[in-house]
């Protein structure tokens, strides 16, 4: 089980990956060149994928709180 500190660290890491990936994707959409397509998929897509995996890992490794 993750401690609160670890949880926040990982959430922050996932957030940074996702936000950076999305910013790269936004830039590539504006920067209309063939290389932008490669950057969009290879770097933006990879960062988003890492962010999603870390976020999903956080969800499955955190105990469900009783409401």
């Amino acid at each position: 089980m993750l401690s609160t500190n670890q949880f926040e660290k990982l959430l922050r890491f996932a957030g940074v990956c996702l936000a950076t990936g999305l910013l790269i994707e936004a830039l590539c959409l504006i920067w209309a060149t063939p290389i932008a397509f490669i950057v969009f998929v290879a770097i933006g897509g990879l960062l988003i994928l890492i962010g999603l995996v870390v976020y999903l890992y956080l969800q499955v490794s955190t105990p469900v709180a009783d409401d």
């Binding site: 959430l11 996702l18 990936g21 999305l22 209309a32 063939p34 397509f37 998929v41 897509g45």
Partner: protein, 210 residues
């Protein structure tokens, strides 16, 4: 930039901003509302934005401007403006027989199952060679496989000019041979003036096309 792309960029930036706030203040996600917000912002929105962006990039990769943005393709772009009605790509481009914005893709895709995917992979290879490898000289560029009549017939099949063309009906075997790809439209001496780069220098170009 097309309005649809602008909208996608706005959505992507909005998503990045919300995710940035959540990453800066992870405490927001402690409550039920925060958890739902985090799920939407950190799972649903990135997937949605990624798919929209990918679709937009794929659409852009079909455009004539995209293909001609590589230096190697400049002469091929010029050959679309040759002032000669027998020059096949030029006559198609100038008379809007293909969509002007997607001129290259319209003729160089494959109208078969997974044909679009196959040519996209070829395109990726071209981009890779252009930036990482050594691109060939424009005149040395060859098709991966002989041009298939299927690509021509995608539009011309059923058209009166094709079905009732004098040469096409000169004998009863011609049309079936064209349809079965046994008689090539391009390399059988009929419509063989295609991207003739060797004679591009000095050729008269259609000025309004620029």
């Amino acid at each position: 930039m097309p309005p649809a792309t602008t909208l996608i960029v706005c959505l992507v930036l909005f998503s990045a901003a919300v995710i940035g706030i959540l990453a800066a203040r992870p405490g927001f996600t402690a409550g039920r509302g925060g958890k739902i917000l985090a799920f939407v912002a950190m799972f649903c929105l990135p997937i949605f934005c990624g798919l929209l962006g990918f679709s937009s990039e794929m659409q852009r990769s079909k455009t004539t401007a995209f293909c001609l943005s590589c230096h190697t393709m400049e002469d091929y772009g010029k050959s679309l403006l040759v002032d000669d009605p027998t020059h096949l790509p030029a006559s198609h481009y100038q008379n809007h027989r293909v969509p002007v914005d997607e001129a290259c893709y319209s003729c160089h895709t494959q109208y078969a199952m997974f044909g679009g995917l196959k040519v996209k992979l070829y395109g990726l290879k071209h981009v890779f060679i252009y930036y990482v490898g050594t691109p060939p000289a424009p005149q040395d560029i060859k098709l991966y496989e002989p041009y298939n009549n299927r690509e021509c017939l995608h539009c011309h099949q059923g058209a009166r000019s094709f079905e009732e063309g004098v040469v096409h009906n000169a004998d009863p075997v011609t049309l079936p041979a064209i349809r079965s790809n046994q008689l090539s439209c391009l390399s059988s001496g009929c419509h063989d003036s295609v991207h003739d780069l060797a004679h591009l220098k000095g050729a008269k170009l259609w000025e309004r096309g620029n």
